[in-house]
Symmetry: C2
Subunit: 160 residues, 2 copies
C-alpha cells in the first residue's frame, strides 16, 4: 500500500477508534451518571459530551465541507463554561445530537480525496501553509482524536 | 515537502506536543498535589506519572531500539494498580525518571530513518503486518500521544 493511502487510513483509524470509545461509554452511562461532575467542582459529563459534539460539528466548516448542523452549540459548549446559565439540550437530546453530528461528519469526511487530506484547512492562510505544510486536514483530525482522549480520560471517572 | 517526510513530522509533533504539556504541568504541580488522587478513590497523580514513564520506556524495545532503562517500573506502574503495596519511587525520583526516560527515548527515536517509521514494530508478526500495514512505528507513536492525552485530562484535575 502506498504510504499516502496508509497514513490517511492511520489518521482515520485513530479518530474513529477514539470516537467509538466515547460512544461505547455513552451507551453504558445512565442519564443520572452523565449529569454528575467528573470530579468535585469540575465539568459535568453532559457538558463534556456537548463540548465534543460542538467541536466535532465545527470540523465540517473548518475542512471546507459545508455548514455546521448545530451552530447554536458553540456558544453553550465552547465559548461558555459549564453552568453558564444558558439553556442546554437535555441528556436525551445530547444522545441524539451525538449520533446526528457524527453521522453528518462521517458522511462529509468520506468525500475527501487523499490529496485533500494533505491540503490546508480553512484557518491556515496559503502563506502560512507554505511554511508549515503539516497544518493540513489530516493533522487536524489526529489533533481532534487526541482531544477526544483528553476528555475520555475524564468521562471515564463517571463510571462506578 | 514529500508526504512521507511530512507525516513523520506530523506524528512526532503530536507526540512531542503532548509530552511537553505533561512536562509543563509537572513543573507547576507541587509534590503534595502530585501525591493526591485525581478524583475521590481514583489514581494518584504520582501513579499516573509513573505509568506514563513506564509505558514510554517500553517504546524503546517495542521499536527495536534497545533495552528499557527501568524495566522494574513495569510491575509497579503497568501490571499493578495504584496502592498495590509495592515500593514506589519518591516523587522527587519520579521527576528525575521523567527526564531520564524521555531523554533516552528521544535520542533513540532520532536514529530512525523515515522508512523505519513505516515498518512494523516488534509485537506485530511479518504475516500480520502484510494484512495490516498501518501497524507501524509511526502509528504506535500517534497512539501513545493519544494515551498521554487521556491521562493529561486526569492530571489536570490536580490543579487548584
Amino acid at each position: 500500500m502506498h504510504h499516502q493511502t496508509l497514513v490517511v487510513k492511520m489518521g482515520l483509524l485513530s479518530w474513529e477508534g477514539q470516537l467509538k470509545r466515547v460512544t461505547s461509554l455513552l451507551n453504558t452511562l445512565t442519564d443520572e451518571q452523565l449529569s454528575q461532575e467528573i470530579a468535585p467542582g469540575r465539568n459535568t459529563g453532559a457538558y463534556l459530551i456537548g463540548h465534543l459534539i460542538a467541536v466535532h460539528d465545527g470540523i465540517v466548516p473548518l475542512f471546507g465541507l459545508g455548514e455546521k448542523l448545530h451552530p447554536e452549540l458553540e456558544e453553550i459548549y465552547i465559548t461558555s463554561p459549564d453552568r453558564s446559565g444558558k439553556k442546554t439540550p437535555s441528556i436525551t437530546q445530547l444522545r441524539e445530537l451525538w449520533k446526528e453530528v457524527h453521522a453528518h461528519l462521517e458522511q462529509r469526511l468520506a468525500t475527501l480525496t487523499e490529496e485533500q487530506w494533505f491540503q490546508r484547512h480553512m484557518s491556515v492562510s496559503e502563506e502560512d501553509f507554505q511554511k508549515e505544510p503539516h497544518r493540513n486536514r489530516l493533522n487536524v483530525l489526529i489533533g481532534r482524536a487526541i482531544h477526544i482522549s483528553y476528555h475520555l480520560g475524564q468521562l471515564i471517572l463517571l463510571k462506578n
